[in-house]
């Protein structure tokens, strides 16, 4: 177990782990996008900013209220999700009757505004956020050291993805959600308050982004552009997986993280572009995405 194809095992597994971690964020973020798109038919371009807000709220909670990581994991999604609810009710909801493009432009604009405001307030150099003591340190796996926090992120992201999938596929609320994705008018004519469901779905998708933001805070420095850097790749992941497919976005997210990690090992020059190459190939051969319905 020393090397594979001439690649030292620690390097290979180190990159695989990094790939898995990135994949965890891709999966969490594209999952939120898929849920929002399925229900609201809006491509939420504010998603990156909401991810970043999650990390900033965690930082603010710690530095102004003394509430640490575990509180942040609970509160930041609620706070940022509530902001999402307000955004949906006051602005996005007005655009449902119009072309997709308006929702896209609005959420893109709001994302830029949030990012600008945060940059004005906190600068762009980044704020430190410490790994909670319970999760610091590393495990010696024999062939490599595995930082505990990274293992935690992968695990939690997986659990969050599976939980979201279970809610959507196996619960009553999930059946409303799936039905309303197909035919919102009919679901409403059965007596379901669909506008409120859309608001809450948006809030939940945003909360998921903020949750990912809190997870990311100790790994990446907390800075205003942390979301926009990531979200470009996430949109590629969404396109590859197929817009609106829940399971597709999770599998594609983790899968592409790993592909990216392996590319760093075997052909580092392409590691920054491999996802976009995959996207181009998928678009050419399966325009609806790997898991999308044509």
């Amino acid at each position: 177990m020393d090397d594979f194809f001439g690649i030292p095992a620690p390097l290979l597994f180190g990159q695989l782990l990094l790939g898995l971690i990135n994949g965890a964020f891709y999966a969490l973020l594209s999952l939120g996008l898929a849920v929002i798109f399925g229900m609201l038919n809006v491509i939420n371009f504010t998603h990156g900013a909401q991810f970043m807000l999650g990390a900033f709220v965690a930082w603010l909670l710690l530095n102004f209220l003394g509430l640490g990581y575990w509180w942040a994991l609970l509160l930041a999604p609620l706070i940022v999700g509530a902001f999402g609810v307000v955004l949906e009710k006051t602005m996005i909801a007005r655009l449902y009757k119009l072309d997709h493009l308006y929702g896209l432009l609005l959420t893109f604009g709001v994302g830029l505004i949030i990012e600008g405001l945060v940059r004005n307030e906190f600068g762009s150099s980044g704020l430190p956020y410490r790994i909670p003591p319970e999760l610091s340190g590393a495990w010696d796996l024999g062939f490599m050291f595995m930082p505990v926090y990274r293992g935690w992120v992968v695990l939690v992201a997986l659990v969050a993805c599976i939980a979201t999938w279970l809610v959507i596929e196996k619960t009553k609320i999930g059946s409303y959600l799936r039905a309303a994705t197909e035919n919102p008018a009919l679901v409403q004519a059965f007596g379901v308050n669909v506008p409120r469901m859309m608001t809450l779905t948006y809030g939940a998708g945003v909360a998921l982004a903020a949750f990912a933001g809190v997870l990311a805070a100790p790994i990446y420095s907390v800075n205003p552009q942390m979301g926009s850097n990531l979200i470009i790749i996430v949109f590629a992941v969404v396109v590859i997986g197929g817009m609106g497919s829940i399971l597709g976005s999770v599998i594609t997210g983790f899968g592409l993280g790993i592909v990216e990690g392996l590319t760093k090992v075997f052909y580092p020059e392409a590691s920054a572009t491999v996802i976009f190459v995959v996207m181009a190939i998928v678009l050419l051969t399966r325009p609806a995405g790997l898991f999308g319905r044509a």
Partner: protein
């Protein structure tokens, strides 16, 4: 049944107009349905039958006039609130959800009042739905999908059922089963507004018929008088 003059109708529609965007589909529909009646809307393609049901349900772009249910004005209400007051709708295209299995489809509409049928009772009416409980809704045959579309609105406690062409495109034996179901529902005290093109079928289930043309009700015929009015009806229905 025609002369329930004393009682206030369960559903009273007056001068109902409806638009889809710029297109003006209903031009002043008026009709009454009394508790426990089965009433049909007959008329050619495009006469406005579906639009009448959709307008009652709040599913058209814009509507005016008056719709009172149990004495309450509904014309300005959102469709979920209309459903919650006890009206249920079975659309012409059936509206079975592909991403839900048969049981999920059946359980989807929330209960709006007490007194709906239990799932067991619905399975007794439509045994196929029990056998195919785990199939995706749209994998059912046309007849089974129709049973599912009717079955799922019986659970909710709604007392007025709006059924849009439940016999359309189905084999005669299934049409008979649907007819039997509608008579059974009437016996259980449901009130039904049924859209039909097939007035042979309508005749076997209804107390009364409204004939529509160009977005208006142009005739009312008691079921007993249907045969003597056949010539006139043929003209309206173009059969």
């Amino acid at each position: 049944m025609l002369d329930k003059k004393g009682a206030e109708p369960l559903l009273k529609v007056r001068n109902l107009e409806a638009w889809y965007g710029e297109s003006h589909a209903l031009h002043g529909v008026s009709l009454d349905i009394h508790e426990g009646e089965v009433v049909t809307l007959l008329g050619r393609n495009g006469a406005g039958k579906t639009s009448t049901l959709r307008a009652i349900m709040g599913l058209v772009g814009r509507r005016s006039g008056s719709i009172t249910y149990e004495g309450r004005e509904m014309v300005g209400l959102r469709s979920d609130l209309i459903a919650r007051s006890g009206i249920a709708y079975c659309p012409e295209e059936r509206g079975i959800f592909a991403s839900l299995d048969v049981t999920e489809n059946l359980l989807l509409p929330p209960a709006v009042r007490p007194g709906g049928l239990s799932v067991d009772e619905i399975h007794t009416l439509f045994p196929n739905l029990k056998e195919r409980a785990r199939s995706p809704g749209t994998k059912l045959s046309g007849g089974e999908q129709q049973m599912l579309a009717i079955g799922r609105i019986l659970r909710t406690g709604a007392r007025l059922l709006l059924l849009d062409e439940p016999s359309e495109g189905l084999a005669p034996v299934i049409v008979q089963q649907i007819g039997k179901t509608i008579r059974e529902l009437k016996a259980r005290g449901f009130t039904v507004l049924l859209v039909e093109q097939n007035f042979r079928f309508a005749q076997t289930v209804a107390d009364r018929h409204y004939v529509m043309e160009h977005g208006r009700v142009v005739e009312t015929v008691a079921n007993a008088d249907l045969n003597s009015s056949l010539d006139r009806l043929h003209e309206y229905l173009g059969v």
